[in-house]
């Protein structure tokens, strides 16, 4: 058995990550580890972040998924049109001049890495080289212990009547922040989400659940919508006065859909069971860097017993409620203010079986 010691600097930060809140140094200093290195190493690949059309989008270029890991080698691509819009605004002449000669645009990328303990480091890269409709930065590697990174571009030009400097992303208010996974090993995150109508589960750091460590189990809102078949739920609570381009209008008033999730959990292949309660974690890292407001996950942070063996098994109990607001000018109300109505009560299992996550060998 290999005893893995975790850097104290990382341990302290585990407490500040919402989905890993509550990690204790005592627990982690005595982790019973696997012998294959899967607990402390991430298989990092390569990827690129492309900023265009009001969106910063990460894609793996090494057959990975939608998440960045520590150790990954990245490049950033920036649409020329964004730099021109930010620098020229409504100045058509300047926009034309910059489009005709993009070399008049100096765009300097700055990458900010936020470490697990919330300390930051910055990496200023060389000015990007324009080629066609975009520019690309030099590649860089995400340092170990990084839990988040963000990107800024400072744009300068001397092509107009007066020299001009702008923050290109600031102008567009693009959310160029990306979570990075792997900063909190051997604590891991098991994500239960969907791809289309298919339900998925995976441990984002790879490998198995680590005995003696923590496992955060995160369930996405879209998965819950799929499980309860949200499209069949009647969320109307009455009507309300509103308006549209043609004039005043009466529209349906919808209540909020709320979820309650519990799970039955076993860390010994189903020999013994416990329960887990899930809490809402809006803005969770697993929603990525550009998740729209309103999206959320439900998460539960679990201690993995040192005696864990075989598979961690889990089955989710999902309840969907319609929440009626306490106040509001609701016409023809269907429910009392503040009411909470159970709409659906279902289990999320792997067919007839429980979901199974491998426990790392001891």
């Amino acid at each position: 058995m290999i005893k893995v010691r975790i850097l104290p600097r990382l341990l302290g930060a585990a407490v500040v990550l919402p989905t890993l809140a509550g990690c204790s140094q005592e627990a982690e200093d005595d982790v019973a580890a696997a012998s294959d290195g899967e607990l402390v190493e991430i298989k990092a690949g390569t990827g690129e972040i492309t900023v265009r059309g009001y969106l910063a989008e990460y894609r793996s270029t090494s057959n990975g998924d939608e998440f960045i890991r520590v150790g990954e080698k990245l490049q950033v691509n920036l649409a020329l049109s964004m730099a021109i819009d930010a620098l020229a605004g409504g100045d058509a002449a300047l926009a034309s001049a910059l489009r005709a000669d993009p070399s008049k645009i100096e765009a300097t990328p700055k990458i900010t890495f936020v470490r697990a303990d919330d300390t930051k480091s910055e990496l200023v890269l060389a000015k990007i080289a324009w080629s066609g409709a975009a520019g690309t930065t030099a590649s860089f590697t995400v340092p170990p212990g990084t839990k988040r990174l963000s990107i800024d571009f400072e744009g300068k030009t001397t092509a107009g009547a007066a020299p001009k400097t702008v923050m290109i992303f600031g102008y567009h208010q693009v959310r160029a922040n990306f979570p990075v996974f792997g900063a909190f090993l051997p604590n891991k995150l098991a994500l239960f989400d969907t791809l289309g109508a298919d339900r998925r589960m995976r441990i984002l750091e790879g490998g198995g659940v680590v005995p003696g460590a923590k496992i955060s189990v995160d369930v996405t809102d879209w998965r819950l919508d799929t499980i309860v078949d949200k499209s069949t739920l009647d969320l109307r609570i009455g009507q309300q006065q509103s308006g549209n381009r043609f004039g005043p209008a009466i529209v349906d008033a919808l209540g909020a859909l709320e979820y309650e999730v519990d799970a039955a959990v076993s860390f010994d292949d189903g020999a013994t069971w416990g329960s887990a309660k899930f809490e809402k974690a809006p803005g969770s890292d697993v929603l990525g860097g550009s998740a729209p407001p309103g999206r959320f996950v439900l998460a539960s942070l679990l201690d993995v017993p040192r005696e864990a063996r075989g598979n961690m098994k889990i089955a989710f109990h999902v309840k969907a409620f319609l929440r009626v607001p306490e106040q509001g000018n609701i016409l023809n109300p269907r429910y009392a203010p503040g009411a909470r109505i159970l709409l659906k009560d279902v289990w999320d299992k792997d067919g007839d079986k429980d979901y199974a996550l491998r426990v790392a060998n001891r």
Binding site: G53, A133, Y171, P293
Partner: protein, 301 residues
């Protein structure tokens, strides 16, 4: 063969209420196979919608609804809408952001912000503050509230709180309505953007590598002029919430007789219960838009 589609609907980037992600997710939940966000005159929600759709496995077509006019500048002036559908492939690289109609959309956003701020500047200081003038002034055009979001800021108590009385909301709504109509009409300063004839819009769409489809053709008052435009169009929107069944049947017969492409959509603005299109879109229309043969197993309804 038909594909379950909704190729015409709006988000909060124009006069709809949903985010692009909400728009996409709803269509996934009801089993759509191919969808488009077709906001008025801009494609600000396309990237976000495409990313969300990619994670659902649906085919996403970049699109917009181009505002043109019949009888522009005359007393019989009326808007005429032509949908523009781009091949999915323009999402690769930076092709989308380089399209002429995308760039036009950026200008539309900038001028919309100017119009709203100019209108607000004419209101009282108390009203301006209640509507969040300072916050809006600082926003970049690309994130500035579009038409429906601006209306909700005025009429919806939950958006702006109790600072405005109901009486003031009604008065401001009427005042804003009078103003925002001028954004598109010949009374406003945007002739270069919206003064196109239907045929000029179709030409611009084709030159941009997209397929032109006349939106909700029954809506236009000038039937003779509409018929002429339909003759020129590549496609006709047959099924839409604005068409009764018999009207849709008439336009489907017209499209098939003239060997035009046709589509099936909702024109959803999230103002009313969703009206699912009663029919799919012909596979050959999707293939025409995408400029390639599609994988049937993914698309067949």
């Amino acid at each position: 063969m038909f594909v379950a589609t909704d190729l015409h609907g709006h988000t909060l980037h124009s006069d709809g209420r949903a985010t692009p992600e909400e728009y996409v997710e709803f269509r996934r939940s009801i089993g759509m196979k191919a969808i488009a966000i077709a906001d008025h005159d801009l494609m600000a929600g396309v990237r976000a919608g495409a990313l969300a759709a990619e994670r659902t496995g649906m085919l996403f077509l970049p699109a917009l609804e181009v505002t043109a006019h019949i009888n522009y500048g005359e007393s019989s002036e009326e808007q005429f809408h032509v949908l523009a559908y781009y091949p999915h492939a323009v999402l690769e690289g930076y092709q989308l952001e380089e399209k002429v109609l995308y760039r036009r959309g950026v200008t539309v956003q900038r001028r919309w912000k100017e119009l709203v701020l100019a209108w607000m500047s004419e209101q009282t200081a108390e009203d301006r503050e209640a509507l969040g003038f300072a916050e809006l002034e600082a926003m970049p055009p690309g994130l500035f509230p579009a038409l429906q979001s601006t209306i909700l800021r005025i009429v919806d108590r939950s958006a702006t709180g109790p600072a405005l009385t109901e009486e003031r909301r009604v008065a401001l709504f009427e005042s804003f309505r009078e103003r925002h109509i001028t954004f598109w009409s010949s009374q406003g300063p945007n002739r270069d953007l919206f003064g196109w004839t239907p045929e000029e819009a179709m030409e611009a769409i084709r030159n941009d590598g997209a397929t032109d489809v006349v939106a909700h053709p029954t809506r236009y008052r000038d039937k003779d002029r509409t018929a002429k435009a339909l003759d020129e169009a590549s496609g006709i929107e047959v099924y839409t919430s604005r068409h009764k069944a018999e009207v849709a049947q008439k336009f489907r017969e017209l499209a098939e007789a003239k060997r035009k492409h046709w589509t099936s959509s909702s024109d959803d603005h999230q103002n009313a219960p969703y009206a699912r299109p009663p029919c799919g879109t012909p596979l050959r229309t999707i293939e025409r838009i995408c400029r390639k043969t599609m994988q049937l197993d993914m698309l067949i309804a």
